[in-house]
């Protein structure tokens, strides 16, 4: 058959309604309160689990309902449309990063101890890769793990770790060798109560409700049974998982872009200037049209990337370099765009755009994280250029 395979089936639309109801009843009514408090109750994780929002990617054996990556995309899109993006980011980091790492790289014992409890919302997970001196440049991780009998001793620190300040466990990337190349990182699961593990919550201008943390490891002893995968396989595990993370970030940014555009249009209908609603000015109509086109094109690109991932998960032959390139393109295209749309949303609000009582400023602040987190725009351009045979030789 010719034509594009649809990504979503009827069961996904039903599921979308479930997630949407969760956002409508369990998140949005409290969004303003949580944003002001810069916090929200951690019971949200168990509630989300009850609504089966954490299981779509995972096998039934561990309490999941999948694997179904189209369903997972539905969760990402709908949660990202909530009025508190930082909260959605916490839920996302737990499921798309920490849980997925355990599922992909863990053994059954680790899956039993961490994945099952993550899907059920009993345990909150975080992924710790970024450091003060190593962001997108993963190979430069300095946190070190040294073997000591049946244990590893971790020393170092991590920053900008989503869920880091309250996670029950953190998947930590540490250096286990100083050899050149890509075999010197290893992943470890660090429990919250490990001796020598301390953390702070970071104050950021965006994602106000998110529990983004700074982590310190001072002679933290981790049993070898908490080593995730083979020694030296960390870099490849991280690179491998970056691909899905970038699709998630693209879906998420575009959900925020759509929400910003809808909010902007609705405000333009209500607000009058020079004796008529702002929406009746042709420049605003055309501006909204342009933004809608960009968002629609960006979504088409992101869905193209999503198709690659679903096909790969289905075990179909997928050209790896194409998957990496299209995924990086989706990430690059969507993040600045979401911020640009949010910026126009602030603009149409006029003075009210600066007021904390309107969500416009929040969309604008929250969207700004996009071109930085999960690999900056420049890193995406490097990745794309490399796949096109360009860039430094």
């Amino acid at each position: 058959m010719s034509g594009l395979d649809p990504i979503f089936g009827e069961e996904h639309e039903v599921y979308r309604q479930t997630v949407r109801r969760f956002v409508e009843f369990e998140i949005n009514p409290f969004a303003e309160t949580w944003e002001q408090a810069r916090d929200y109750p951690r019971e949200l994780f168990t509630k989300a689990a009850t609504a089966s929002l954490f299981g779509a990617k995972f096998d039934e054996m561990w309490g999941g309902t999948g694997p179904d990556y189209a369903a997972e995309a539905v969760v990402v899109e709908e949660l990202s449309r909530s009025l508190t993006f930082g909260t959605a980011s916490d839920l996302g980091a737990h499921s798309q990063l920490a849980s997925l790492y355990i599922s992909r790289f863990g053994d059954d014992d680790q899956r039993e101890r961490y994945l099952r409890r993550s899907i059920s919302g009993e345990a909150i997970g975080a992924l710790g890769v970024t450091e003060p001196g190593a962001g997108s440049d993963v190979n430069n991780v300095r946190t070190r793990a040294t073997r000591d009998g049946g244990e590893w001793v971790l020393n170092g620190s991590k920053v900008f770790i989503t869920n880091g300040s309250w996670a029950n466990y953190v998947v930590v990337a540490a250096r286990t060798s100083d050899d050149p190349g890509h075999d010197n990182l290893t992943l470890f699961i660090v429990d919250e109560d490990s001796h020598g593990f301390t953390r702070n919550r970071m104050r950021m201008i965006a994602w106000h409700t998110s529990h983004t943390g700074e982590l310190f490891f001072d002679d933290v002893r981790v049993p070898d049974s908490n080593r995730l995968g083979d020694v030296g396989s960390g870099f490849r595990q991280i690179m491998n998982n970056f691909q899905w993370e970038r699709v998630v970030l693209s879906l998420s940014a575009l959900a925020l872009a759509e929400l910003s555009l809808e909010t902007a249009i609705s405000y333009a209908r209500d607000r009058s200037a020079f004796g008529r609603p702002v929406i009746q000015f042709q420049v605003w109509q055309h501006r909204f049209a342009d933004l809608a086109v960009l968002v629609r094109a960006s979504k088409a690109l992101t869905y193209r990337a999503l198709r690659y991932h679903i096909a790969a998960e289905q075990g179909l032959p997928v050209a790896r370099d194409e998957l990496v390139r299209v995924t990086a393109m989706a990430k690059l295209h969507s993040q600045r765009l979401a911020w640009r749309v949010a910026d126009e949303c602030v603009q149409v609000h006029g003075g009210a755009g600066a007021l904390m009582e309107y969500p416009a400023q929040r969309f604008w602040r929250d969207a700004r994280v996009g071109p930085i987190g999960g690999g900056t725009d420049d890193i995406m351009r490097n990745v794309i250029a490399k796949s096109l045979g360009l860039g430094a030789a």
Binding site: L4, I265, Q282, Q285, A300, N382, L390, A393
Partner: protein
């Protein structure tokens, strides 16, 4: 989950089209641009291979394929030359679909079948000297006289206009009426050999020089009754239908052109050296090309989603307007960055990049300008 909308049959078709394009079209583009003309044989050659009616039903002389076969055809031509893609798309996506959609059996036999064989050349006649995108304001008129119609007026910027055997034309047949601003318009298939029809001027253009773009003049042209296409007074609605397929077509070959530009620019950046290294190794150049490739990938994904809707018979006016607008914007940005990357070579007359820079500019004007697409979108989005 398959990753391509095309089947093996489409791949075979692509091979056929590509062979034809590479032997019969591509080697001659520079000379045709220089001459400001190309031979009518291009239509006959395409017609003989069955390329002019790929998605038309067999009963109407077409190949009975789906829209994706038309996508293959337009992509393969669009990648070598926007002007040739335009003249062929005028034939396949603009002048002929209304005859299939609104025409009767006689009109299909008389005009459509020979056109799909490439024996007759068609054009679409909408724009006039005083009205472009504002179709409702056309003034060319046809007045009933017994069984006939008497046609008077002029049409401007008509691609294929100087060589056309017939023109699928919108004409005013009733008075302008404020109560029904879109009424009083009808469509005709105008036989250009009739007395009173003249090509008043072949226009000199900055780009797309190989295609003939004409100012046409109609002075008491007597059209037979059977020249009326579809329903009298329904012409506005009919031409709005035509414009959807037209915008799909230009979007498909436009984005294929943009992709070809990016591919050629990448190839150039990898071999051209400056300051002792290929310019593609400079990070700034590589990032610019990464952005170009990304924009093209996004807009192609959008065009494919539209093509998919179109192929399933969904009349997606909003998505088509989005694709048309996005393609025009992106092709123009990409070709300009390509000229920048080629440096002096991008300004030399007669090569692909300089030619496309001149030719692609029409993408933001023809088939409904950027501003018209935004206007359509604003309406369909319920703004204002």
């Amino acid at each position: 989950m398959k990753l391509t909308p095309f089947t093996e049959d489409h791949d075979l078709l692509r091979k056929t089209v590509r062979e034809w394009v590479d032997t019969e079209i591509a080697p001659h583009i520079a000379a045709w641009e220089e001459a400001g003309d190309f031979p009518d044989d291009v239509f006959r050659g395409a017609g003989e291979l069955g390329l002019l009616g790929l998605a038309f039903p067999e009963s109407a002389g077409g190949q009975g394929g789906d829209y994706w076969s038309q996508v293959v055809f337009l992509e393969e031509i669009g990648r070598v030359s926007q002007p040739i893609a335009m003249v062929l798309s005028v034939q396949t996506d603009m002048a002929t679909p209304p005859i299939l959609q609104f025409g009767d059996k006689t009109q299909i036999e008389r005009w459509l079948k020979p056109a799909l064989r490439g024996e007759l050349i068609g054009a679409i006649g909408i724009t006039e000297p005083d009205t472009g995108s504002d179709v409702a304001s056309i003034r060319t008129s046809a007045v009933r006289d017994g069984d006939e119609w008497i046609l008077n007026g002029s049409k401007m910027y008509i691609t294929n206009g100087a060589r056309a055997d017939f023109i699928t034309m919108v004409v005013r047949t009733g008075d302008l009426d404020d109560a029904d601003p879109w009424g009083g318009i009808s469509m005709f298939v105008v036989d250009t050999s009739l007395p009173g029809f003249s090509v008043s001027k072949k226009l000199e253009k900055a780009g797309m020089r190989l295609s003939d773009t004409a100012l046409l003049f109609m002075d008491d042209v007597r059209l037979p009754a059977e020249a009326l296409l579809g329903v009298e007074g329904a012409g506005f609605k009919q031409i709005m239908w035509e414009l959807q397929g037209e915008r799909m077509g230009v979007s498909v070959f436009g984005v294929a052109g943009a992709r070809a530009v990016v591919d050629q620019t990448i190839a150039y950046a990898r071999q051209r050296t400056s300051f002792g290294q290929p310019i593609g190794e400079f990070q700034a150049v590589s990032h610019r090309l990464a952005e170009m490739a990304t924009e093209v990938e996004a807009v192609e994904a959008l065009v494919y989603e539209c093509a998919d809707l179109w192929n399933r018979g969904i009349y997606a006016t909003k998505e088509v307007a989005m694709a048309k607008l996005a393609v025009g914007q992106v092709t123009n940005r990409v070709i300009d960055e390509a000229v920048q990357t080629f440096g002096g070579a991008g300004l030399v007359e007669g090569n692909f990049i300089s030619r496309e820079w001149l030719g692609m500019r029409i993408g933001r004007i023809g088939g409904g300008s950027d501003e018209v697409q935004r206007q359509i979108l604003a309406r369909l989005m319920g703004l204002g």
